[in-house]
Amino acid sequence: MEKRVVFQSRWLPFALVAPQLAITLVFFFWPASQALYWSMLIQDAFAAKTQFVWFDNFRDLFNDPHYLASFKVTAVFSVLVTVTGLAIALLFAVLADRVIRASKLYQMLLIWPYAVAAAVAAVLWVFLLNPTLGILTHVMRGLGYDWNYLLNPGQALALIVIAAVWKQISYNFLFFLAGLQSIPRSLIEAAAIDGAGPARRFWTVVFPLLSPTTFFLLVVNVVYAFFDTFAIVDAATSGGPVQATSILVFKVYQDGVQALDLGGSAAQSVVLMAIVIALTVVQFRFIERKVQY
């Protein structure tokens, strides 16, 4: 039996929704349509001379080997950030769930990194891992490992993955903890009585019941890895060395704002938008089937 709210007046529902619609139109649809329009122009920086060139910008993009390499970097980066972020957050949530004494303290401490701005998080890790002055660099040199992320592409990627994951763990932890605490204890106890060990209990009972939370976090983390990590790349590596950390969203900024190639940058943002829409559709259509509500 569904409970539905029915409005007597004809215009009140629209009036109530109008502010939200207005914001969505102005801040989402308008810029998106501008990007679509600009992606088909070649213009100089001051908009004095514009030429309509249909899909030339897109053709140039896909002929550029560095842009295609950027796809690979973004894919690797997103997978690493999502998987690592979810796994570590789940681990912390399971551990925090079992704690009885000072549980609120642990929860508060684990949530703090979320309040740190992305650029600040990046700078923090840059200080720790700076090839000249970083404390962790010093420790690694002592262990015989030469750390210089300015020259080593793998290390640069590791740096931004660490900074991105560190921030996101708190967010994931929050949701996982809430999800865990909403699972009825009686189910877990019943499984224990039936003789299931802790690992079996987790994978057979707890994890499937956590699936709505996991699915939601998967979508959010993928969008985070694609877009919100821009600040981290800008503050830490500027896309280097040799483009090893040049993720798609950073390339949009570099080509649009720094290099003032507005047509190419708009084309890249259109492609990025299409990718994220496609990924979200895929997630909702195929993975949601496996979620047990």
């Binding site: 070649i42 213009q43 100089d44 920086a45 001051f46 908009a47 004095a48 001379k49 030429q51 560095h66 090839p131 000249t132 002055l133 210089n148 300015l150 020259l151 080593n152 592409p153 500027s238 280097g240 060395p241 040799v242 483009q243 570099q254 080509d255 704002v257 720094q258 290099a259 003032l260 190639d261 047509g263 190419g264």
Partner: protein
């Protein structure tokens, strides 16, 4: 009755105050967008305050708008929105973009002529005015802060390695020998460089009188193609790559980040901007000196002259023509010898006008600070040739990014110098074609 009188009186006072405030706002405000930070920011504010105090009609308001690329983008966005600032400081790399924007930019020589302000391009140091002049020799923007590349040497580290700091290395092979001794004496980093694309390729080419690009490095007009993968440049980058493998050259970053490695005492030698003088003076806790940029003695014509970096002030087209008068007065103030000499002495940027250079000499600035005039001497070493007037390329920011990336490939051992420079030239040429297409 008394109450009514009081009310009328207070209203009258309020109106009088408002009128007075309104009259005070009759001062025309000139917005100056810039990218100077720290001590430079203080100096910029000081200059504006002095100008504002010297007359009552115009008020120059300096606004820090972020780094060079950010403030340039902000100015362009403001222009597109119909509300541009009056003066914007644009780095040398953005010169081609600004010069191509003929409808948006008010050429300085035109403005000064229209406002009957004295403005002689010959009063500027030739290396500076040449960079920002069009093909007829007219200055399109107002020179303000220019620097060039020098070698800074850590005297204490040199003595520890058994080297004589009074005889810093003059040629690149001498730098290599010094670096070997420094490494042997236990220095963690013998040599590094800041602004690698600017120092080791752009200015390197000018210093050795070899072309960086066709058409006089882009000054001659459109259709420019890059040429910095010539034998002299390849030999030098390959040498640096070999030094990187041997641990004589340590890469510390693309832009200004390596300076911290020098001021902390880690790196014993650094080639970077002369503008870093103030920073080193404030932070280095060891004896140090400035030396001339090294060169290869076996290259014919070397050393020629170095090219400038830094920025100039551009004027954007204004609807309110009154502004131009105030801007003209401000520019005259800015290029006066006293203001320029003070700016030069406080910052390490070179003196822009010959009069300021003479004033500095008269004041004994260079005997008080040995090596402070090396920068200006390098710039005026010889009359500029087609290869050493400067570099003017479209999409220069992207080209520098590309050069940075390819050089990183050499330092990390992924590519040879020839492969990297060839790749940089071909990728850079694509950028030049895009710029030509967008601006035709």
């Amino acid at each position: 009755m008394a109450q009514r009188t009081k009310r009328i009186a207070s209203i009258a006072v309020a109106i009088a105050l408002a009128a007075a405030a309104g009259a005070a706002q009759a001062v025309t405000e000139i917005q100056w967008w810039h990218s100077m930070t720290g001590k430079l920011n203080d100096k910029v504010n000081e200059i504006a305050d002095k100008f504002n105090a010297s007359q009552k009609d115009y008020k120059v308001t300096p606004v820090y708008k972020g780094q060079y690329d950010e403030s340039m983008t902000a100015a362009i966005a403001a222009y597109r929105a119909g509300n541009p600032p009056q003066i914007v400081q644009v780095f040398e790399v953005g010169t081609a973009t600004m010069m191509a924007a003929k409808g948006a930019v008010k050429p300085v020589y035109q403005l000064m002529a229209e406002e009957h302000e004295k403005f002689d391009p010959k009063s500027f140091v030739p290396a500076v005015s040449g960079y920002y002049s069009d093909s007829q020799g007219h200055l399109i923007s107002m020179p303000f802060n220019s620097s060039t590349q020098v070698l800074y040497v850590n005297d204490d580290a040199f003595r520890k390695a058994g080297l004589d700091p009074n005889n810093p290395p003059k040629t690149w092979p001498e730098v290599e020998k010094a670096a070997e001794k420094l490494k042997a004496s236990g220095a963690p980093c013998a040599f590094t460089t800041g602004w690698q694309a600017w120092v080791q390729l752009e200015s390197f080419s000018a210093w050795h009188n070899v072309p960086f690009a066709t058409q006089q490095n882009g000054f001659g007009g459109p259709g420019t193609k890059l040429e910095f993968n010539g034998p002299v440049q390849v030999k030098h980058i390959q040498a640096l790559g070999d030094w990187a493998k041997k641990g004589l050259f340590t890469y510390k970053g693309r832009k200004d980040e390596p300076l911290a490695a020098f001021t902390s005492g880690e790196c014993a030698m650094i080639t970077t901007s002369s503008g870093s003088y103030a920073n080193i003076k404030a932070n280095a806790k060891f004896a140090w000196r400035v030396a001339t940029l090294p060169y290869y003695a076996d290259v014919k014509g070397a050393p020629q002259n170095t090219i400038i970096g830094g920025a100039t002030l551009w004027v954007l087209n204004q609807k309110n023509k009154d502004m131009y008068k105030g801007i003209g007065k401000f520019f005259t103030f800015l290029s006066s010898p006293e203001v320029q000499e003070d700016w030069h002495a406080s910052t390490g940027y070179v003196p822009i006008t010959l009069a300021a250079y003479d004033l500095a000499k008269q004041k004994g600035l260079y005997t008080e600070r040995p090596g402070f005039d090396i920068a200006i001497k390098e710039l005026s070493n010889k009359p500029p040739t087609a290869n050493s007037k400067g570099v003017r390329l479209g999409n220069f920011v992207q080209i520098r990014n590309i050069v940075d990336e390819e050089l990183e490939a050499v330092w990390s051992g992924q590519k040879s110098a020839k492969q990297a420079l060839d790749a940089a030239v071909s990728r850079g040429n694509e950028q030049l074609e895009r710029f030509a297409k967008a601006n035709q």
